[in-house]
């Protein structure tokens, strides 16, 4: 399905990542957003609040992030594509509803423009320290999808991808931006609507009043959905439930449900995961990065190559699910993996886990508030080469 032309601002724009993200949501068919003001993400909902009334969308500023993160779930069951946008402290408040979205298999998009933490931390300055929270922040075992844009253009592109993935897999998808990418102004090209591929919601074909079981599988691990008002009377609960959607609180149902919720992502990981690479073949050392840091590390890689080192660049566009197999195979071919990130070690430990000791792994930590000095990354590359 192609994008609804009503939401697509085709053309070349000079805008920041926050605004580009809002345009991505519009192009993806998002027509409901709920949010609460928080720096450095607010521009996304400000743009949606301004644009939505001209395209038939609804924005509501809720009383807090708890409300925002569940209002979007209500809107999805009412038939809309929906998103909320936040940053660190608000993200923390949303965790319970990420679990509810996972458990009820409610497709939605959550944008986190990361800032420095913990707590109020650095509201106006960048961080990448919510990556593990996106992965593990809600209680229980689950799998989600998280994308990490490194430019305003990708804030547009990956927001569309996020909506499409959320519909395909009936899972919350995170767009893990950061303050730098959110506030960086660059050229953003928005294509014609007929060049934008949109995944529509997969609804059941059971007729009104027919016997519809909300969690009965139909060919794959993702059950077809219904909406309120379609005459199917589903019961949707955050409790462990059977295929009827009825609470069934026992170990057997729990095992079946939780494994399927994880498997629908893990078994499709190869299909979901997107990476970018340069000079990885034949490299001795590969710098593994994501988001703004994947641009900050480029001068360091250039400098190292100028010094005769064989250094590759691998960027995780998809951070979750983690590209386990790819990193494992890579570690078998190279001497060292270098991971710079704006935290004191989050994705690094995933790289170390997957490397399984085949290559050495090197963290380039940064507590946030600025981006790395490329010199610091270069130094670690050189250490790794020794």
């Amino acid at each position: 399905m192609k994008a609804d032309p009503k939401g697509v601002l085709t053309g070349s724009h000079f805008i920041d990542g926050d605004h580009a993200c809002a345009e991505g949501a519009l192009a993806a068919g998002c027509r409901f957003a709920a949010g609460y003001p928080i720096t450095p993400s607010t521009e996304v909902v400000e743009r949606l609040a301004s644009r939505f009334p001209t395209v038939g969308g609804i924005f509501i500023q809720m009383e807090d992030e708890l409300a925002s993160s569940i209002a979007i779930l209500g809107a999805v069951w009412g038939g809309a594509k929906a998103a909320t946008v936040t940053s660190g402290p608000g993200f923390s408040l949303m965790m319970e509803h990420i679990g509810l979205a996972v458990m009820t298999e409610t497709p939605c998009v959550i944008v986190n423009v990361q800032r420095g933490g913990p707590s109020t931390g650095l509201p106006t300055l960048p961080g990448q320290a919510d990556m593990m929270q996106a992965r593990w922040g809600s209680h229980g075992d689950y799998e989600i999808i998280a994308l990490s844009p490194d430019s305003p253009q990708e804030c547009f592109d990956l927001t569309i991808s996020a909506f499409n993935l959320s519909e395909r897999f009936r899972v919350p998808v995170f767009v893990m931006m950061d303050e730098c990418v959110g506030h960086m102004i660059e050229r953003v090209v928005i294509p014609d609507p007929d060049e934008i591929e949109i995944v529509p919601r997969r609804l059941t074909d059971v007729p009104r009043g027919g016997e519809y079981l909300p969690y009965r599988l139909d060919g794959d691990l993702i059950p077809p959905m219904t909406h309120a008002g379609m005459g199917h009377y589903p019961h949707i609960t955050g409790l462990t439930h059977d295929e009827r959607g009825y609470p069934a609180m026992n170990a057997e149902t729990q095992d079946t449900l939780v494994r399927r919720l994880c498997d629908k992502i893990l078994k499709n990981a190869d299909d979901i995961i997107e990476i970018r690479e340069d000079g990885v073949d034949g490299a001795d050392i590969v710098v593994v990065s994501y988001g703004i840091t994947s641009r900050v590390c480029l001068p360091a890689i250039r400098e190292a190559r100028a010094k005769g080192l064989k250094v590759g660049w691998l960027r995780l566009v998809t951070v979750w699910p983690f590209p386990d197999r790819l990193i494992r195979e890579l570690a078998g071919r190279v001497k060292a993996l270098v991971v710079p990130e704006l935290n004191l070690g989050q994705v690094y430990y995933e790289v170390e886990r997957c490397a399984q000791g085949q290559a050495t792994t090197h963290l380039v930590p940064h507590a946030g508030g600025a981006v790395h000095d490329p010199e610091d990354i270069l130094r670690v590359i050189e250490e790794a080469a020794r």
């Binding site: 009503k6 027509r31 409901f32 709920a34 009334p53 001209t54 395209v55 038939g56 969308g57 609804i58 509501i60 809720m62 009383e63 807090d64 708890l66 409300a67 925002s68 569940i70 209002a71 979007i72 779930l73 209500g74 809107a75 999805v76 069951w77 009412g78 038939g79 809309a80 929906a82 319970e96 509803h97 509810l100 009104r208 909406h227 309120a228 008002g229 379609m230 005459g231 199917h232 009377y233 589903p234 019961h235 949707i236 609960t237 955050g238 409790l239 009825y246 609470p247």
Partner: protein, 301 residues
């Protein structure tokens, strides 16, 4: 003379509530003497009489004993998180204004953890009916104190008697902007049913408090007897005062219970106000959301 027994009656008798219930989930979890079931009977009776098509009604609950209500009703039903059913209902309603959205939950869910959402939905005049079964305790977790537990009443977390001033729910609802506010007990089944029907048919944020017994926890801990004793108390100590100023209807421990319809007024709902404001400012650029036909047009009520 025939000794044969008369033939057994052939017609099956069904409780009229059954058609609204997920009978494959009955028996329910509620205790004998609990008031939630009576309130659900009143709700289904009101729904029937309201003539609102079943397909257009969604029910949203939070967590707790009353939070289980959504799971027993054969409607589009959503069992959400603790305290947040009103915020979920807000999104549901805005995505499809044709839906009649009902929030059915308890006093702890709606007024402790969920208090913020209640006051803002009332302020916005968000189109929904909120039914609060007020049993003055957290039943599901074993009888803790809530924001409506009367002064001096005992609970597991106020073992020497509650000393925190409780909310007067009708007063809170009216102050925050609810356009319809009523209170009944689970003894007042006919009045409660009528009130729910009125609330369902009224645009805007409508609120009904149902004072109901929790014989297992609240009543036992406070030595108030069984469910039947609660009914006697409600019958003897309730006074119907329609239109009573809500500031005067606070509840004390085993005090008189002022019941009735206290507020029935009208102002633009969030949906109407949104459309009117945007249309006025944006003119031709304003695009009504899909499903929103008729929203913002003049209405009579």
């Amino acid at each position: 003379m025939s000794t044969q027994a008369p033939p057994a009656p052939t017609c099956e008798v069904h409780n009229p509530t059954e058609q609204w219930l997920r009978m494959d989930r009955i028996p329910h979890i509620w205790c004998p003497g609990c008031g939630i079931g009576s309130s659900v009977n009143c709700f289904t009776d009101a729904l029937e009489k309201s003539k609102i098509p079943r397909d257009n009604v969604s029910i949203v609950s939070g967590i707790g004993c009353t939070g289980r209500t959504a799971g027993y009703l054969k409607l589009d039903s959503f069992h959400t998180t603790h305290g947040r059913p009103i915020a979920f209902a807000t999104g549901l309603k805005l995505a499809n204004p044709k839906l009649k959205v009902v929030v059915y939950s308890g006093d702890g869910d709606l007024f402790a953890i969920g208090g913020n959402h209640f006051i803002h939905a009332a302020r916005r005049n968000m189109d929904m009916t909120v039914i609060c079964v007020n049993n003055m305790t957290y039943g599901m977790t074993g009888g803790q104190v809530t924001p409506t537990t009367p002064l001096t009443a005992k609970a597991t977390t106020s073992p020497y008697g509650n000393f925190e001033e409780p909310f007067n729910l009708p007063y809170l609802a009216e102050s925050c902007g609810a356009v319809y506010v009523a209170r009944w007990t689970s003894f007042h089944v006919r009045q409660l049913s009528k009130s729910i029907r009125e609330a369902l048919l009224k645009p805007g944020f409508t609120f009904i408090e149902v004072v109901a017994p929790c014989p297992t926890l609240y009543a036992r801990r406070n030595r108030l007897g069984a469910g039947i004793d609660a009914m006697k108390y409600y019958r003897e100590q309730s006074e119907i005062k329609n239109g009573a100023p809500t500031r005067d209807v606070a509840l004390g421990f085993q005090s008189k219970i002022i019941c009735g319809k206290f507020v029935d007024t009208s102002r633009p709902t969030w949906l109407e106000a949104q459309v009117q404001q945007h249309r006025a400012v944006l003119g031709d650029k304003f695009t009504l959301a899909e499903n929103w036909e008729g929203v913002g047009e003049p209405r009579e009520d």
